[in-house]
Symmetry: C2
């Protein structure tokens, strides 16, 4: 096990009717002028936005609003948010939505107190320092951004999708999580969320660091819980406990606790980002395609771990040769993704084999030419993995 620091100070307020705590929480963290940041019409139609406004008004907390965040949030709205914060002297950002809204809010929070261009944080040249405080009301369990220090933004010029990780002071101060807000999520969005949170666990699970049994078991626990609840939630979208377990699993998948003391991978995320940047596909959909493809390419570099994954997570019987067991685990994951309606190859995703050159080209720019740790990958490896993903057979 490697040395580590783990700090997850976010206050999670979880359960039915917890949105009513929003004004108290904003006030607790000294918010007096709030930017409410949200996505499209769903926050309006569901009444969530009106509820937030009502609660803030009732505590005499001033606010301005900025909606319009899209999946794969873009820099242009971030610039708009930064300008609005400065103009209105905003001192607290409240993100009401899923990971895209929260990531956009974090970028605004970081940029509003920085004299340069916020994109510097994504070039790796500057570290986030004293951002505006961020609180969240989560409506889509997926990205885990409500409990993480990370953000992913796409620069529209050149469609560069980049992550900025490890800005510990960007962890939200609070996360209000009401599973009932997710009742109306369409099945595909529920599935994308599940793929995303499972990927967050697996990026940490697949490591070469030895002696990490406690976090191994933790990773497996979260995967097992998600798989168990998925079987319920697609049949009963309004099953409170299924929604609640998935929502909480999504937070634990990405607040860092699954990755302590181990080298993480993140190659599949890097490979996927090019897909969602190029095609605008949902991140979770892209991950469902890329993660199994990555696994098929790298599993021989640490077959014991893939055997453990197969046996402990998918209940594959531990007999026969390791290669067979490992492959059974990978195909069990792929079958699971298929069973909940996720794409598992380029065709199902709407991606094209002939775009692989282009994907590798932008990946080269964004990654600097290498990615991953479980196996260090170069652009030839990346191309090979895209080619596996482009195969039609499941």
């Amino acid at each position: 096990m490697n040395n580590f620091k783990f700090w997850s100070p976010t206050e999670f307020v979880f359960g039915k009717d917890t949105v009513k705590n929003v004004a108290t929480l904003v006030a607790k963290y000294n918010g007096t002028k709030v930017l409410i940041h949200y996505g499209g019409q769903s926050a309006v139609k569901s009444g969530l936005l009106a509820d937030i406004e009502h609660y803030l008004q009732s505590e005499c907390i001033e606010y301005v609003k900025l909606g319009g965040v899209q999946p794969n949030p873009v820099d242009t709205l971030v610039y708009e948010g930064i300008e609005l914060c400065r103009k209105e002297n905003v001192n607290f950002i409240l993100a009401a939505g899923g990971g895209s809204v929260i990531d956009s809010a974090k970028a605004i929070a970081a940029g509003a107190t920085y004299s340069g261009d916020f994109w510097d944080f994504f070039e790796g040249s500057v570290t986030v320092n004293q951002p505006l405080p961020v609180g969240t009301i989560l409506t889509i369990p997926a990205a885990g951004s409500e409990g993480s220090p990370n953000m992913v933004i796409t620069k529209t010029e050149g469609m560069l999708k980049r992550g900025s990780r490890g800005n510990q002071n960007l962890r939200p101060l609070f996360a209000i999580m009401d599973p009932e807000l997710t009742y109306t999520l369409p099945a595909n969005q529920t599935a994308y969320g599940i793929a995303d949170m499972m990927a967050h666990v697996m990026e940490r699970y697949f490591t070469q660091t030895p002696g990490v049994e406690t976090s191994d078991r933790l990773c497996e626990a979260i995967l097992l819980a998600i798989i168990h609840e998925a079987a319920i939630v697609f049949k009963e979208p309004r099953n409170y406990n299924a929604r609640a377990n998935i929502m909480w699993a999504g937070t634990l998948a990405h607040n860092g606790v699954c990755g302590v003391g181990r080298e993480e991978d993140w190659a599949s995320h890097g490979l996927e980002h090019e897909l969602s940047a190029l095609y605008g596909v949902a991140h979770g959909a892209g991950l469902a395609v890329m993660f199994p493809a990555w696994m098929q390419y790298v599993y021989t570099s640490g077959i014991d771990r893939f055997v453990q994954f197969a046996v402990r997570v998918w209940g594959i019987e531990n007999t026969g040769d390791k290669k067979e067991i490992a492959l059974k685990g990978i195909f069990a994951l792929k079958n699971f993704f298929s069973s909940i309606g996720l794409p598992v190859n380029f065709e199902q995703l709407g991606a094209k084999k002939e775009d692989i050159d282009c994907l590798v080209h932008t990946l080269q720019i964004n990654s600097g030419g290498t990615l991953g740790n479980f196996r260090k990958l170069d652009m030839a490896d990346a191309r090979a993995i895209y080619e596996i993903a482009a195969q039609k057979s499941v």
Copy 2:
């Protein structure tokens, strides 16, 4: 799943040679005059105390020292610590030791800023408010106090052992956790620690709250990891990864994450506290005796959960009747405790059947006459459970 709040803001600094960060961490949390609180000679002999003093001196941080904390820490030393803090204008308490030292430090921290008698916090009449900040250097993984808001202190007059739970502002600001500091722990103390952390998980696991799959899996993960690493650590006490996995499991067992959204039990802890108060036995040893006895008494009140425990944690085959499987799980736990040298009945613990009247008498005073949630227990139940524990057969 029930509504919950979860807030675990402690900064965990984990790994080899992490003690060297102590002065930086104290300074980060504005400590300028520190009380170093510790136990007996082991902190001196190991050189830990000298190291701490060296690091604080090198950053010009002033300090005073108060050693002498014993297992089952007592009020008299807490009063002494409170007086010392006031006299010396201490503004930060650094606990270097195990759960007893950290609990004693928390009680001093709470009492030093309170005008009344600190025991009020244990009578339930007063809530801890603005305690002195506490940081910790953990040397015995067991109690989980390094990441919890709880403390347990024994009032020498009447030997009343009481817990004060849920003082969220008593969570330590940081926990330095170097597994190498635990290399020299004797086998019995290692085993007591394992029983304690497993009990912390199980007090949460055994619940009647339905629909808590994510935290169920989490509880099982931590138990599985501990069981796995225990098989290594007693053979190889200086196995870094085994020590590290056990140490981190002990923190997760009690920082609250295992208990979110569910009613917890805590009857076994209540039953045990009387044993350690009366006989001065280690808390972990008492728990190894009382937890299986409690299980044998209550398992029919929620047999499905005991079946799940048997199957998922102990790998008992899920065939035959539920009662048989549940009992196999309980006996697997008992056998595990025995296998690592823990007592599993009164005789092995050094407790006496003829003291049961006395145990029930003080339990009545400390508990108010009822305990537990998985099954609500009265003093007749408590007596019956002590009687099971007093049986000789394993």
